[in-house]
Amino acid sequence: MTLFYGTELPTRLMLGTSQYPSPAILADAFRRSKASVATVSVRREAAGEAAGEGFWRLVRELDVQVLPNTAGCHSADEAITTARMARELFETDWIKLEVIGHADTLQPDPFELVTAARQLSQDGFKVFPYTTEDIVLADRLLDAGCEVLMPWGAPIGTGLGIINRYGLESLRAQYPDVPMVIDAGLGLPSQAADVMEMGYDAVLLNTAVAKAGDPAAMAEAFGMAVTAGQMARIADPMEPRDMAAPSTPLIGKAFLE
């Protein structure tokens, strides 16, 4: 059983909460996909007062684990401040740590990420770092106190699916016991099923669902795909064979056509 900082999640799909056509459609997406975690980005302007209360109430009504996100932070200091604010606002010590190093591709800044992860872990946060497939970086994050990793599939919002299969397979193989969530870059349910079959523990999405023509239907499709991939992994798939082989012996058949 995979635990995320001691918590067992009823399903392995996590959904972001931004860019939906309306909060009602967002709520439908959660209902139909049975996603068990909602990431919520903390905009500092909405924090510290009642201004964001309307939306926050709608998120609370989803009745899922909330994972606040330091989206949009570009330095460790900024991310740490935002995380502390999020802890007050959302009353949870879970934090998705996102420190952006490149504004255009939203690629994480590995150096600031490790600094922030260490500080926040020391402060008692349960840090979910948004990272790349880099094994050395993974090692530093674990050393900084992270117990979960969230490698990207591809840059945020691209919908490209996994662009470095070898890297992700090798990261998975290197740390078989660390819960890992593929975060960002997925566009299709088949890609979500794929990473679950590879042995990843969960999938986090936002754009692929929110920007679909029918977000709630797409969310449901992703929910099914994540379950399918997880089941397939547990079911221990056959090894592929490099030659076509009949599955029943031909000998003994009465007639051959």
Partner: protein
């Protein structure tokens, strides 16, 4: 003039776009009204003051639900009939550089458009010639200037003897009466201020700017598709442009952030570098009133009818919402957007 249906006036609270449209609609059907607001003029206290004024139902259909497109179809004709200047030049939707695939998605999810190639874009908007290879043209859409439209409604109501009263009506019997009774009705059109009564109403913050840039001439609203923040630029004439708008889940009405302003200006600059020389005339902030599905609602509670939740579609939806509210009050026709009061 038509004979008043009821001698008692219907009280409308809130003289933003929803209240003014409703007052105007009721008066034109012969129902007297009283219009109450804390301010006796349309102004920056109402979020319609900061609106883009695009009557673009098909473009909005990209993300908005079907009723917005259908109700929005009534807007241009209604405003024109009220004497408001409506410019019917369509909408041009463009993308920047590598986002051109966003256009295909936008085209798939919207109606009544045609692909515009470089030549067509140059013909429609000579200022943008050679800067964009592809766009989408929504020929039938229109726009108006919100502050002029609000002033026009206010003036024409004043001519009919309806002035905006700054004292609020005293509600003698908030829970009495039955459906269909015109006497003693209060229509609450206060927008986000009505969140004190409607606990499912939320604010969605928008930031906008007004720029003066005489080097640029645009004939119609331009929408820029960008994966992170769609923006639009609406020409107001005389080299003035409205640039909007952010959409943030917050009811804050006062603080424009540096980030939002940067995002808006960068997009304008990317559309045409001459915007870099623009003079900044205004930075506006307000919060739009919205329900969870971002659709408008008419809700009855005792002798009060709440008309609210027009979200980012004030000028687009207020005419249809006013029509439905009037049909409800005067003819007891249940509006499509009526909902149960669950309080």
């Amino acid at each position: 003039m038509t004979e008043p249906l009821s001698t008692k006036p219907v009280r409308i609270i809130g003289a933003g776009v929803a209240g003014l449209c409703l007052a105007s609609e009721l008066m034109s059907r012969g129902q007297r009204v009283e219009l109450h607001d804390r301010h006796d003029e349309p102004g920056p206290h109402a979020c319609s003051w900061w609106a883009g004024g695009m009557l673009a139902p098909f473009c909005e259909g990209e993300t908005a639900e079907e009723p917005v497109v259908r109700f929005g179809g009534e807007a241009a004709g209604w405003w024109h009939q009220k004497g408001v200047e409506v410019t019917q030049q369509g909408t041009l939707v463009l993308t920047l550089g590598r986002d051109t695939r966003e256009l295909d998605r936008f085209a798939r999810r919207t109606l009544h458009h045609q692909m515009a190639d470089a030549d067509m874009i140059a013909r429609l908007e000579p200022t943008l010639a050679n800067r964009h290879r592809r766009g989408l043209f929504f020929e039938t859409e229109a726009h108006l200037t919100p502050r002029d439209a609000l002033a026009m409604l206010r003036d024409s109501l004043a001519q009919q003897g309806v002035a905006i009263t700054r004292t609020m009506p005293v509600d003698q019997n908030p829970n009495g009466g039955t459906d269909g009774e015109v006497d003693n009705l209060t229509i609450d059109c206060r927008g986000l201020a009505a969140a004190d009564q409607l606990d499912d109403l939320r604010g969605v913050k928008g930031e906008m700017m007004v720029l003066r840039c005489p080097d640029i001439t645009l004939n119609r609203p331009i929408r820029l598709l960008h994966p992170r923040f769609p923006i639009y630029i609406v020409p107001r004439g005389d080299g003035v442009f409205m640039l909007g708008a952010t959409q943030i889940e917050s009811s804050d009405r006062n603080r424009a952030t540096a980030r939002s302003v940067l995002e808006l200006l960068s997009a304008a600059y990317a559309l045409h570098p001459a915007f870099g020389e623009a003079e900044i005339l205004e930075i506006g902030v307000d919060a739009r009133p919205a329900f969870a599905d971002n659709l408008p609602r008419i809700r009855r509670r005792g002798q009060t009818v709440f008309v609210n939740g027009l979200f980012r579609h004030g000028f687009l939806l207020a005419p249809a919402v006013a029509r439905m509210t009037a049909d409800y009050i005067l003819n007891n026709q249940r509006p499509e957007i009526m909902d149960e009061d669950n309080r």
